[in-house]
């Protein structure tokens, strides 16, 4: 009986899905007899089969529904919105019981109290019908609940048919496949077996071997295609749930909304369909709740009172695009920007410079909510950031377009399937890794002679200036602790520019191998715990490769979401034009890190033998023209040199005038080497945001020594 029960549940759920679609259509075309017939049949089938399985509660409800629908079918009732609402409640009631059966194997015990209200409602709806004098109908008219002969029959059926044990399968775990597709699959498997047999009889040297390999290739490709096709479900399956949602929402929000579809037949992998269900639902909710205006507002704006939400699905360059468009008020850019500034997501300066498109994408940032007032409809804690995260989790992307007064379009782009993804295979630390192509923006080769200059360091972060934008860079081998093999600034390296979850960064790898279509295999729990990989795959050459989770890698490496980085860069660039020129002395304190001091604080540059430097109380001191200068050695150069016992070497010390609280002091700064003296600009805005002072000297980012920043210099000038 288990198989039968799960068969029953799957069939009933399908029937109810059809019923739901028909109900919303029925509201538009109340005279369509075919729709009524379809709805009647869904309930009728449940009623007809449930008796076999002994689900009394379900039967009772279905029976009442069937009766009401019978009156409707026979023209004794007219379609009213109360009737539709009643039937929708019936639908919900039936679904709830089915879910219960599916999960527990039984239909629950609180049946009577829960259903009696609904049954009474349905009976009342039926009662409004002019009573018919149809003799044949008289038998079970009009009381529908608990008729004695029925009880007897039910008892019989229960005795004969063993009560359903727990139902295992479910509608979500079963998949209906076109028989043609299944036949094609079988044929291809036959081909595969034939080819294998021929290959077994052949050998590598045989003349027909290349021919066989080609055939194997084409059969495998066809088979893959067909299996993928079998997994494809029309997007319409998902769309089917929305008319109801929109109808109910529109009622709650006092809107007048119609929903339109196109491209329902567009196929999408079943698992992907599941994955975009929630984001799509949220988008539709948003469209009705925040997008469409109240009817009187629409009329005032010269639009029809009824708003329209359009769902559109179509293929575009190997992915499926799903759009949710409304003809509502549109998103007010000013409000978005104001909110983003208020929430500290961007600075006011940056906001002022944003294009409309850029500004709109802000609503995807975590911590942003467009709802001016939190309504019970969309203010459910699922913000647009979650929509974006969910879509990106399956390798998709999401963007939004909006025109004030005209409407808003949310566009989701998802790959066709998850099982096979195009990826770029790279090598790092002697291992192969796969980078999903969807996250790959571009590839950059940094040749050896440029490698050293290309990477700029700001504090702990390494940045690469790619077409005037600063790109955080991450060394894959260092991140994974693989031990550097070839990757070093001193050699040329490859930079894979990746974008995911709002982060954009360059991943430094040793080598690029071929792009491949990889088959994604799930990871064992041990590997999954590392949290940096989304799967594993076997490459064409038989080697294993882990698939890098681009978003998780960014998070692990401490790469901040793009907007923040962009913000920093925008500030840097914005300030370039405004700030006054100051002369800087540029030097290296730590290797490869450019540090600068305003030139007017540096009095002299001295070369001092290491032996002249004395120590007291853990501090390095230098006797200089009768004054005892504390030495500032942020780069730990002195220790490094002492360690190497280079007693004869000379230390470069900058003699600086320092304005402290007690008046004017001098100190010595130990530096690796002095690089340059040139004009540059202080980036004061950035200083207040990060606590770090930056200057742009000869168009290169340079950190200003914190003890000698512009402020210190200014104070000193005053004292002097």
């Amino acid at each position: 009986m288990d198989d039968l029960t799960s068969e029953f549940i799957a069939e009933s759920q399908e029937g109810l899905d059809r019923m739901e679609r028909c109900l919303t259509e029925l509201e538009v075309r109340p005279d369509d007899g075919a729709l009524v017939g379809e709805i009647f049949r869904a309930v009728h089938t449940i009623k007809g089969t449930t008796g076999f399985l002994g689900f009394d509660r379900l039967e009772k409800l279905a029976h009442t529904g069937e009766h009401l629908l019978g009156s409707l079918r026979d023209g004794k009732l007219a379609v009213t919105s109360e009737l539709i609402s009643g039937l929708l409640s019936l639908l919900d009631g039936l679904r709830a019981i089915l879910v219960l059966i599916e999960e527990t194997g039984g239909e629950g015990t609180r049946a009577e109290d829960e259903d009696s209200a609904l049954i009474a409602e349905l009976t009342a709806l039926n009662g409004h019908a002019p009573l018919s004098v149809d003799a044949v109908d008289g038998v079970d008219e009009p009381n529908t609940v608990g008729m004695p002969h029925q009880e007897v029959e039910k008892a019989n059926s229960r005795a004969a048919v063993a009560p359903a044990a727990s139902a295992m399968g479910s509608a979500d775990k079963t998949l209906r496949i076109d028989v043609d597709v299944l036949n094609r699959m079988m044929n291809l498997v036959g081909e595969l077996v034939l080819t294998r047999n021929q290959m077994l009889q052949s050998n590598m040297e045989a003349a027909n071997f290349p021919e066989l390999a080609r055939r194997l290739d084409s059969v495998t490709a066809d088979l893959r295609e067909t299996v993928m096709q079998a997994r494809m479900q029309p997007v319409g399956n998902l769309f089917g749930k929305f008319p109801r949602l929109v109808r109910d929402l529109a009622r709650t929000c006092g809107r007048d909304v119609r929903i339109e579809f196109s491209g329902q037949e567009t196929g999408l992998d079943k698992s992907l369909l599941e994955a975009i269900k929630d984001p799509l639902t949220h988008a539709v909710r948003n469209a009705v709740d925040h997008g469409i205006e109240a009817p009187h507002v629409r009329v005032l704006a010269g639009k029809p009172a009824e708003g329209c939400v359009r769902l559109r699905a179509f293929h575009q360059s190997g992915s499926v695009v799903i759009e949710v468009a409304d003809d509502g008020a549109g998103i007010g850019i000013e409000r978005v920007l104001a909110k983003a500034v208020e929430r500290n997501l961007v600075t006011a300066e940056h906001a002022a410079e944003m294009s409309e498109r850029e500004a709109l994408q802000l609503i995807f940032l975590p911590g942003f909510s467009t709802a001016a007032a939190v309504t019970n409809v969309s203010g459910r804690g699922v913000g647009m950031d979650v929509v974006r995260a969910n879509v990106e989790k399956v390798g998709g992307s999401v963007e939004i377009e909006s025109k004030m007064g005209v409407g808003t379009t949310l566009r989701m782009r998802v790959p066709l399937t998850l099982a096979i993804v195009p990826a770029l295979v790279v090598r790092s630390g002697g291992q192969s890794f796969a980078l999903p192509q969807t996250a790959l923006v571009e590839l950059v080769y940094v040749p050896r002679r440029e490698a050293e200059k290309a990477v700029e360091k700001i504090g702990a972060a390494a940045l690469y200036r790619l077409r005037e934008r600063l790109l955080p860079i991450v060394w894959l081998d260092r991140l994974l602790g693989l031990g550097t093999q070839y990757t070093d600034e001193a050699h040329g390296f490859y930079l894979a520019v990746l974008e995911a979850e709002g982060c954009r960064y360059g991943l430094v790898v040793d080598d690029l191998l071929a792009p491949e279509e990889i088959v994604v295999k799930p990871l064992s729990s041990v590997l999954r715990e590392i949290g940096l990989f989304s799967g594993a795959t076997v490459l064409g050459n038989g080697a294993l490769a882990l698939i890098l989770d681009i978003g998780a890698t960014a998070a692990r490496a401490g790469v901040k979401p793009m907007e923040e980085v962009a913000e920093g860069v925008a500030l840097v660039e914005a300030k370039t034009e405004q700030a006054e020129d100051v002369s800087f002395m540029v030097f290296e304190e730590r290797a490869k890190e450019r540090t600068a001091l305003p030139l007017d604080v540096v009095e002299r540059i001295e070369s001092v033998p290491l032996t002249q430097i004395e120590y007291a109380g853990g501090r390095a001191l230098l006797q200089y023209r009768g004054e005892l200068l504390p030495l500032c050695d942020d780069g730990n150069l002195l220790i490094e040199m002492e360690d190497r016992e280079q007693e004869e070497s000379l230390v470069t010390v900058l003699i600086c005038a320092h304005a402290g609280t007690g008046g004017r002091h001098r100190i010595g700064m130990v530096v690796r080497r002095v690089l340059d003296v040139s004009p540059g600009r202080m980036l004061e805005e950035y200083a207040s945001a990060s606590g770090m002072e930056l200057a742009l000297v000869k168009e290169k980012l340079t950190m200003v020594h914190r003890q000698f920043g512009a402020k210190a210099a200014a104070t000193w000038k005053e004292v002097a």
Binding site: D3, E7, G37, T45, K47, V136, V139, E153
Partner: protein, 123 residues
């Protein structure tokens, strides 16, 4: 002995098939009236047709009318499988050439009894 099960519900088809299997009766299935007519038009001979009433495309009443008019399977007995909501159709179906009817939900015994009425006894 061969039977043709006509029902749009795969649950009912599976259930009937299981019951008939146990009686040693070979079964074919069709999902609606017109599908059943196609199966019959392929000149397949059946002894018994178990015909649902409410089906999409072509319902049981139209089906029994059509097959009797076209004299498809003239020897075949037609048993309408129905629920009480369809009972207004039963009289019409019996008038149009159906031989017996069976009310859902039915037990294996009630199926066997009705079959015995048509002269089929379990093997």
């Amino acid at each position: 002995m061969r039977a043709l099960i006509v029902d749009d519900s795969s649950f009912i088809r599976d259930y009937l098939r299981q019951l008939l299997d146990r009686m040693g009766i070979a079964c074919e299935e069709a999902v609606d009236g017109s599908d059943a007519l196609e199966v019959l038009a392929e000149a397949q001979a059946f002894d018994l047709m178990l015909l649902d009433v409410n089906m999409p495309v072509m319902d049981g009443l139209a089906c029994v009318k059509a097959l009797r008019e076209a004299r498809l399977g003239p020897e075949m007995k037609v048993m309408m499988v129905t629920t009480e909501a369809d009972h207004s159709f039963i009289a019409a179906a019996l008038d149009n050439g159906a031989d017996e009817f069976l009310m859902k939900p039915f037990t294996p015994e009630s199926l066997r009894e009705k079959m015995a009425l048509l002269g089929f006894t379990a093997a």
